[in-house]
Symmetry: C2
Subunit: 231 residues, 2 copies
DNA sequence: CGTAGGTGTTAGTCTATACTAATTCGAGGA
DNA sequence: TCCTCGAATTAGTATAGACTAACACCTACG
């Protein structure tokens, strides 16, 4: 009997998948994800990140420029988008079919995304009618790995008077999500900015077509991402 | 800052949960589960079992008698039944709500049972109407940890002429499960034994009320567990 | 009643992932 | 231009869980 050979293409472990997702999110804007930011996002110590970064670049999932940061390779990006599809399909399924509210799905999906099969995800996606967005309005990558890149503007920066569609709610914090839901601020809602206080004050908006007003503080207004629909 | 204390009551890891389930199944008949049987069931080497057995008895989940085997403590039994509830609720949910067939649910449930929350399992159980049996007819433990102990007889041993209800199908092998399903032999079906060949030959049965006959080979007849319903 | 063969356990090693402590790098202010 | 300080990396260690090889225990058979 030969000594057992190592599987040359092992399934990704839980941790690896988490690192790839974190790097995807951190490098989606600027080019490189910093070690310390990855550490903060995953709640591990920076040396743990250095160690994992070494392993991931050896397997070709990321590109590492020492003291600068890391970027996903196309293979790493594909793996990250697969996890993001799983996460978002799970979140939507749990809210639509099992009565979860959008403030509580995140933790559950976070654990399940590592355990489900691709088959199960596709069955859930079919049961949901191949949805494009998760409960927070984030786009769901396709099974092929394509993701919509939307042109969105934060409510706190949006021009006054323009008609807007609320598209994404950029937080997973249950308390904030409950608050937004109470205020009727969920993806798909139409609104216009009627007034904005200077010096980082709150933004006042009106829902469309009802005209109901809402006042949204500066910090929260930065979490609500909108698509401009013209005047 | 104090040196970080170890969590005195850590969540069970994937492996620990698998060991407890295996020990539960192996010791449900006789008193002790043997090291080598546990190793075979989990597909690990015997010394791995010895190592885990030491850890599990230190944490009070099992009782170990060296060279004899192991038994669950009441705490270990509770943990095992919790996993079995998860597994069986998941299997039923996947078949009822996501179109899985009973031959393919096992592997999926095996992975998910370690990742789901108690909350999710209870939501699934509610969506299913607090079911008592999984797709194979195995009883689902309650959330409180009680499990039905049924008086069942294998079809190969059942008396001739008595009315029987097929209650459990004792295999997870997809090929056999497909075959049983084709033959209409699923939990809940009523039947009687019309004839049995001597010397370990096949059993001939008639479905009730249709009277359709089936011939079931010796080995398969040992997998079909029935409840006697009187004459 | 003693031993052979199998089952169980111990000893020692490996990998993945984490940690702390110590060290090195590099960019921005004096 | 040089130095300093925060960020990143290396060094060394720990833990869970697996493995192989070697040793110990039991029992059933001759």
């Amino acid at each position: 009997m030969q000594p057992a050979l190592r599987d040359p293409n092992p399934p990704l472990t839980r941790s690896v998948e988490d690192y790839l997702k974190a790097i995807y999110h951190l490098s989606s804007q600027g080019g490189f994800a910093a070690t310390s930011d990855i550490a903060a996002m995953l709640d591990v110590a920076p040396p743990s990140v250095s160690g994992m970064v070494k392993r991931l670049s050896e397997t070709g999932l990321i590109e590492h420029v020492p003291y600068r940061g890391v970027q996903l390779t196309s293979q790493g990006r594909r793996a990250a988008l697969r996890m993001i599809r799983r996460h978002r399909v799970l979140e939507l399924y749990l809210t639509q079919h099992l009565g979860y509210d959008w403030g509580n799905v995140h933790a559950e999906a976070e654990r399940l995304e590592h355990a489900v099969s691709d088959d199960l995800i596709e069955r859930m996606a079919n049961a949901l009618g191949q949805p494009q967005y998760d409960p927070h309005g984030d786009p769901i990558p396709t099974a092929a790995g394509d993701i919509e890149e939307a042109e969105l503007v934060a409510l706190g920066e949006a021009p006054i008077g323009t008609k807007l569609e609320l598209r994404q709610v950029g937080t997973q914090d249950p308390a904030r999500l409950h608050y937004f839901a109470e205020q009727g601020l969920t993806p798909g809602v139409l609104l216009t900015v009627s007034e904005r206080q200077p010096f980082n004050g709150p933004t006042t908006i009106a829902l469309v077509p009802s005209g109901d007003p809402r006042v949204v503080g500066r910090e929260l207004a930065q979490l609500l991402w909108c698509r401009a629909l013209g005047t």
